[in-house]
Symmetry: D2
Subunit: 350 residues, 4 copies
């Protein structure tokens, strides 16, 4: 085991990041050291890179970001039994306390004291990352390896889609970043009868087409309300999956949702949003769900099962592959909207 | 059967109402004519009386308002089999179309074409009212007769409380109008472990005390957040029942609700409300439910069962009893906040 | 409209049936007369034909059987508004009373006073059948017409599959009669990750293969327990859909179901079945559901949505098409196990 | 800390047990040593004492039985943070592996590798017991101390009652051992409208009266079906809680349950039970749930909340209090049906 490794480091409280040598993490009795094969980039990483208001409030440099990855176990603590050296693994990066009400009642994903590896502790944009055994997910050899680093955002999509009935439903997906795009595939694989993908960005809409949404709509230029009304016998969609966080998209989404519908909200608005509670939620008897993370670990079992069964084709979402050292180039491509999901290779090969 | 009867009539598109002679309603083959024993007053009736923006948009005078009542069957159409002359009855006043998606999937309470008797058609502030057989609710002889006219708002409360888990839960009820007050009794009867009633009006808070809320709090003068935090081991309440429609109360409610909590919204705000979706709903993984009406007719069975079992003491909410002709006096007492639930007696005796 | 029509008639309390001339049914104010295009045969019809113990107890000859069909509206009663002459329709044949607890709480499919057309009243093995407007299902023009007569048994399958979570689940389907075969297609369309079809009859197993079950197993010759164990990491299936009614199959099914699994029982055993409640249900914390009919009408909306979306290929199940007059030949083919779903054409063309 | 302690020991593979000196348990890094204040007796302990077929198959002497208790923390392992010396605690005695599918999806109560302290490892019929930190339940100072040792069986009752809707429901409880008796109190506290307690033993029926069941019925001498029918408008009960394990009681229970009802099975029959699946489950669309243990740890939070709120009066069930050394006398009183819940005091005082 080397003493040092190369990593992306948010070294200071300002925009940007460095690629530099740092010590390989030390592991404790119940920890697992993973040699990272692939790490992928989340919108959160762009917030950290850009050093926006959220990042300034949450991040304490120096920090190695990165919370989507896969790799092989390089070493295990003395008490670890779940995996052994050489195992191919990913991990849930929300580390729950295990002792609060939520943790003890099956809702560890909303633990009162959650710490996120890659946000609150050093993450996976490095040659090695340290993960507690409780959070390691041993990868089934039958799932496609090219998807192994994107289970975190795929898990967001699976959790959102399966947070209520989906089979035989008409579904609007608002916002086609990677999670929205994954949600198209998941919804269709789980029996959604009609999927309406809504997105103003051309590049993303093209990918939504490749993901086989039944309708790919541009709210900026198309009369989405009329199209949905016509396609649903005037009733509206049963389910709204809100992935955009944009106020206009949110209101459009609630507007096309039928009375008694489900709205699952994942996209984070940058500021408060005005609701007409009476017409958008109350008289409609809508069920609105806040979606945070993934279920620990029901969602991971669901993902594994769907991937093993070959039910998800996620390739169109992976637009870029590059060595870890080119991280800043990736950030730039995300910023300009030219990339969707970017895979990084810290250990040279890709 | 007389030809005419006395009724409250919203005769013109302006504030106020008249007490005057009108024809007794004609009934069709599947209708039931009920001689009204008691009719009670809802906040909606005050909106109609005051002729506010909502009323101007929805009501088409002339109209006999009134959608909470009980009485005896005076006559039945030729095809009616569910009740007979003399039966003591109340009714669900939301008349559903029976043919839309919602009606055919067990959600008639959010029928796409619902008509409300007393809002869209002549109601119960009269000596007689005409009700379709489908909507008649024959009253079990064992339920207390003094509650027979208030099943509509009690049903709102029962539907709201039982829209999710309630046993062993801590529950905040925001707003103590009649429905909020009923909800205190229902929540406690159904096993709620702690009920926090929140209300700025002194008169209503006094009734909340009589309804045996565990905590009766005045958000204008008390540190509700701290009190709830102390009483819930720092966790917050499991359930928020929002009955006020006031933005401050709504935000206070979401603020004291724990991650993973349920917020059931019944109170109608008079204008749009700003939400910080990220902190109030999404990161909390909150479940927010719009509550409209009562389930047709599950809620009616639930009310009957709870009332027969003697589990609900609702007397403190009934503050006024008066002849129907004194309707305007009742409106005045509601407007000044001196009354909670007012019972009207159209047929002289009370 | 002719005065008479040809129909299959169970004329006497003994095995067999006649093909003969009978009066065209008279319709009431709220009835619909349908000219039958296709009627299909259910196992129930074979019980009636064979005049077994169940039939002797339930059926009162003379009776026209047949409860699966489609056709065009030939005439409507004066109060009918849902359909008009010429509309292409099918129907839910469970006629609910509309007034019992179950009917008034969204569970009309288990109405206390249900009457089944084709069992308790004259059915669809005839040129015309009379259906109450409430039970007519107007067929969406986009659903494949070849499936229009088999919505009743497809509805059994959809209701069974969707009676709990199915996406990403491993599912055992025990018994591959038409409903079990349909369930394979429905489960896979709704995201089931693994479908194990179990059936002792070779002919049926071949169709199960065509329906694309992931595993098609013969319990008579294969070690199903071991195969399932190996394919589920030793855990067992998440869901058991019991369609056989055979005691051996039932116990095998419960034996391969994991702790915390769901068992949905549709197949009717011919006599009592012994259960080891402790090991088969209680310690497993199993959830066992009795499945009766289809939800009225949620299941019909679900079927329509899945069929419109092209998610179900049901062709392999339809093995025979014949004129109605050849009914007895069809019975014989069912009895010998040479046929699966048989379509009958009462009006000459097929 | 003493080296030895007094304990009840199942020393050999035969009926009976010894009261003798044994070593005080050694604790590991994550264990808690509890000085037992009260331990209570479960039917399982009688099986072990009697050395019946179940015991012969499951128990490996020598064993200290006892899985219901409370006490004060006497010592903690070096890594324990949840409790400290002197804390008043009870514990969940099902020790889950934490790594199987069920454990990782919120169903640790049906862990594939569960070990039960007091059954598979030394338990609480001793002056001291060793418990893993994960399973310790720190007792809220506001819950009545006299109930602190019976949370395990109270948890069975709470889990059973709250495994489905209970508010406003009619509920039959079949079998009035301690868990059935607790279930009466819990059901009524959680809004059950009618509770029918059914029990053939006179002594137990008297306690059921004290627990305030609405109807206390003796199936051996009363026409339970007729009584339930009359009391439920001919419909039957909504919920059956099966606590007896006796075939006659099971069939009576299913017989009085309405279509669409819930049957939660906790009582363990001593041998297989015949079911008429068609009439008892399938046509009824019954939901049958196997109930095992208590939810870890949702049920514990629910119990705490109900007890703190003063909603449960459980005193009538506690019939005997005696020093631990009189254990065999307690066994005898259970065997003859003269006792319900027996509390044992290992540390002298009671």
């Amino acid at each position: 085991m080397p003493e040092t490794m190369l990593a992306i480091v948010k070294a200071e409280a300002k925009p940007g990041a460095e690629f530099r040598e740092v010590p390989v993490p030390k592991i404790g009795l119940t920890d697992v050291l993973v040699k990272v094969k692939v790490a992928s980039v989340c919108g959160t990483d762009l917030h950290i890179y850009n050093w926006d208001a959220w990042a300034q409030n949450r991040i304490h440099p120096p920090l190695i970001p990165g919370h989507e990855f896969c790799g092989h176990v390089a070493a295990v603590g003395a008490e670890v039994t779940a995996v052994k050296e050489g195992d191919f693994v990913s991990a849930e990066m929300h580390v729950a306390c295990g002792k609060c009400l939520q943790c003890r009642t099956g809702e560890a994903h909303i633990c009162q004291k959650v710490k996120i590896i890659g946000v609150d502790a050093n993450g996976a944009f490095a040659e090695y990352v340290c993960i507690p055994e409780s959070n390691i997910w041993k990868l089934d050899p039958e799932i496609p390896q090219e998807y192994a680093s994107i289970l975190d955002p795929l898990g967001n999509a699976v959790h959102t889609v399966l947070a209520g009935e989906i089979a035989a439903k008409s579904v609007a997906i608002s916002g086609c970043g990677p999670i929205g795009l994954f949600a198209i595939a998941v919804a269709k694989a789980c029996g959604a009868a009609q999927v309406f993908a809504m997105e103003v960005n051309d590049f993303r809409r093209k990918i939504a087409q490749q993901m086989k949404a039944d309708y790919v709509l541009d709210p900026a230029t198309q009369d989405v309300k009329q199209i949905v009304r016509d396609a649903t016998n005037g009733v509206g969609v049963d389910v709204l999956l809100e992935m955009s966080g944009h106020p206009d998209a949110i209101h459009l989404g609630f507007g096309i949702m039928r009375s008694g519908g489900r709205a699952s909200l994942l996209g984070i608005p940058s500021k408060p949003v005005q609701f007409d509670l009476a017409s958008e939620i109350i008289f409609k008897a809508a069920v609105v769900q806040g979606i945070n993370g993934r279920l620990m670990y029901k969602t991971w079992y669901q993902m594994t099962a769907l991937l093993k069964a070959g039910k998800l084709d996620l390739h169109p979402v992976i637009t870029d592959r590059m060595p870890l050292k080119d991280f800043s180039k990736g950030m730039e491509r995300l910023r300009t909207g030219e990339a969707s999901k970017i895979l990084l290779y810290p250990n040279g090969s890709k």
